[in-house]
Amino acid sequence: MQGNRGPLPPLYVDCANGVGINILSTFAKQVADTLPITPVNTDTANPAALNSQCGADYVKTKQALPPSVQAAGYLAKPGVRACSFDGDADRIVYYYLQDGKTFKLLDGDKIAVMVAMFFVDLVTKTKLSGEKKPEVGVVQTAYANGSSTKYLRSVSLVQRVHLQRLG
């Protein structure tokens, strides 16, 4: 599979002024020619800044951009996406502005569906069939939104949907 379409549109990553930036800065360098990443809210030196007016919890509960992202106008251009880590960077939400105006949130369930469909797409492109064709499976927790589980099960190219208990 070869391509020459240049890098993806830029991604802004809100690091919630937490530890996410430690990993992200190295990762961003290594994928720079594929995905331009701009970290924001990276003040780890100030304990009071952690999750303050930023981060995944802020975005999910307020259903809004972090004020710093809003003010910078990063998402005004179509195709530009942003995401927010929580403080220890094991949770993430994505978001964008539809038509540069309407806030649209992509939470964990939506992200899982999109990633699953991406892998379904890759599997289809391999043109493998029968026993050689890889199966696509999705693991969700019991907290997952029922509609997302229902949707995944309805898509015949996703062979397994497993609900896993936590802990």
Partner: protein, 120 residues
């Protein structure tokens, strides 16, 4: 994530009023869980950027050092939870399939996989 049953164990241990009580609760728990206190153990830990991290790591080290050389300690430093998960898993996976048991190994693995999946 802590396994469900360990919530009760952690509560019991943290509520011990004095050293004797802590030692006896600990020994009883080890016996109940069939843990060989003379066996070898390997502990990998990291912390995030919260200021409480320093003190917590100091306390953790003191607790682990009480067991002397039978406990191998690997301090991964300040990093994310998923990076620590990778280091633990890669440390345990002797086949090497999981990758290099370091934060750098985690990033390299992710970046490489991402670039293979997203061919432009």
């Amino acid at each position: 994530m802590l396994e469900q049953s360990w919530e009760a164990h952690a509560t019991a241990l943290s509520n011990c009023q004095n050293t004797d009580s802590l030692v006896s609760t600990f020994t009883t728990l080890a016996h109940h869980l069939r843990v060989d206190l003379n066996g070898q153990a390997s502990i990998v830990f990291a912390r995030d950027t919260r200021p409480s991290g320093d003190e917590l790591v100091k306390a953790l080290r003191k607790g682990l050092e009480a067991f002397g050389t039978s406990v191998k300690i690997q301090d991964v430093g300040i990093t994310t939870t998923p990076a620590l998960h990778h280091v633990v898993r890669a440390t345990n996976d002797k086949s090497g399939y999981t990758g290099t048991p370091t934060v750098e190994g985690y990033v390299e693995k992710l970046a490489k996989a991402f670039k293979v999946a997203i061919v432009r």
